[in-house]
C-alpha cells in the first residue's frame, strides 16, 4: 500500500481546457463558478487556458470594492493562479479597449489577443467551457 504522500502524482490523462469568461464578476454566479472549476482543473494538473472577453475583462480589474453589494471580492484569487501553474491568461483586445482599459488596470499579467488569434487558440483546445 502506498503512503498518502506518495499519491501526489496524478496519472490520469492531461487535457487542454479553455475557460472563456464573458460576464461581469458580480450579479451572477458565473465568474466565481468559473474560477472554482479552473482551480479544480488546475489542482488535477490539467492544461488550463483562461480567456477574458466582453464584460469578463472586469473580472480581473484592479481595485474592486464589493462592500456596498455585500459579496466577497474574489479578485485576489486570480493572483493565486500562478501558484497553480495556470499561466496562460488571454484577454481579447477589443473587449479591453472598448472599456477604456489597458493591461495596467488588471490584477494579473495577461496576453492581449485579437479575434483571429483567439480563434487559433480555440482550435488547439480539447475542451472549451464558456461562462
Amino acid at each position: 500500500m502506498s503512503e498518502p504522500w506518495e499519491d501526489d502524482e496524478l496519472d490520469g490523462p492531461v487535457r487542454k481546457f479553455m475557460y472563456v469568461n464573458r460576464r461581469a464578476p458580480y450579479g451572477t454566479i458565473y465568474a466565481l463558478e468559473s474560477l472554482e472549476v479552473v482551480l479544480i482543473a488546475a489542482a488535477f494538473e490539467q492544461d488550463v487556458t483562461l480567456v477574458f472577453m466582453d464584460d469578463g475583462v472586469y473580472q480581473i480589474k484592479k481595485d474592486q470594492n464589493t462592500d456596498a453589494i455585500g459579496v466577497k471580492n474574489f479578485s485576489p484569487t486570480y493572483r493565486a493562479l500562478e501558484g497553480y501553474d495556470v499561466e496562460k491568461l488571454y484577454v481579447e483586445k477589443e473587449s479591453l479597449e472598448s472599456r477604456g482599459l489597458t493591461t495596467d488596470d488588471l490584477v494579473v499579467p495577461v496576453q492581449v489577443v485579437n479575434n483571429d488569434q483567439l480563434a487559433e487558440l480555440m482550435e488547439e483546445q480539447e475542451v472549451i467551457l464558456s461562462f
Binding site: 498518502p4 504522500w5 501526489d8 482551480l39 479544480i40 489542482a43 485576489p76 484569487t77 497553480y84
Partner: protein
Amino acid sequence: MSIEVNGKVFETDEEGYLADLNQWEPDVATAMAKEEGNELTDAHWEVINFLREYYEEYQIAPAVRVLTKAIGKKLGKDKGNSKYLYELFPYGPAKQACKYAGLPKPTGCV
C-alpha cells in the same frame, strides 16, 4: 455544530470547519487539534500561520500541491515536501491544517 473554547462558542460546519474565519484565534486551533488527539508544535504553527497568510492574500485555501510548493519556496525544501507535511498533519495537510487555521475546505478537496 460548534466548538467551545475558553467559554466562547464557535460555529462550525458539519465537518468541523469554522463558519466565520474572522472569529479565529490561536486557541481554536489548539482546541481542534486536542479534539483529534494532537498537540500543536512550532512546526504545526508554522504551517497554520502560513495558511492564514495565504488566505489573507489570495482569499482561498490552497490545494495540497500548491501549498507544498509555496511552503517550499518560503520555508525551504526540507519542509516543502509532502512527507514532512503529512507527518505533521496525517489527515492531509490542506484538509487538517486548513481546518485548524479556521479556513474553509480547500477548493477541489473531496
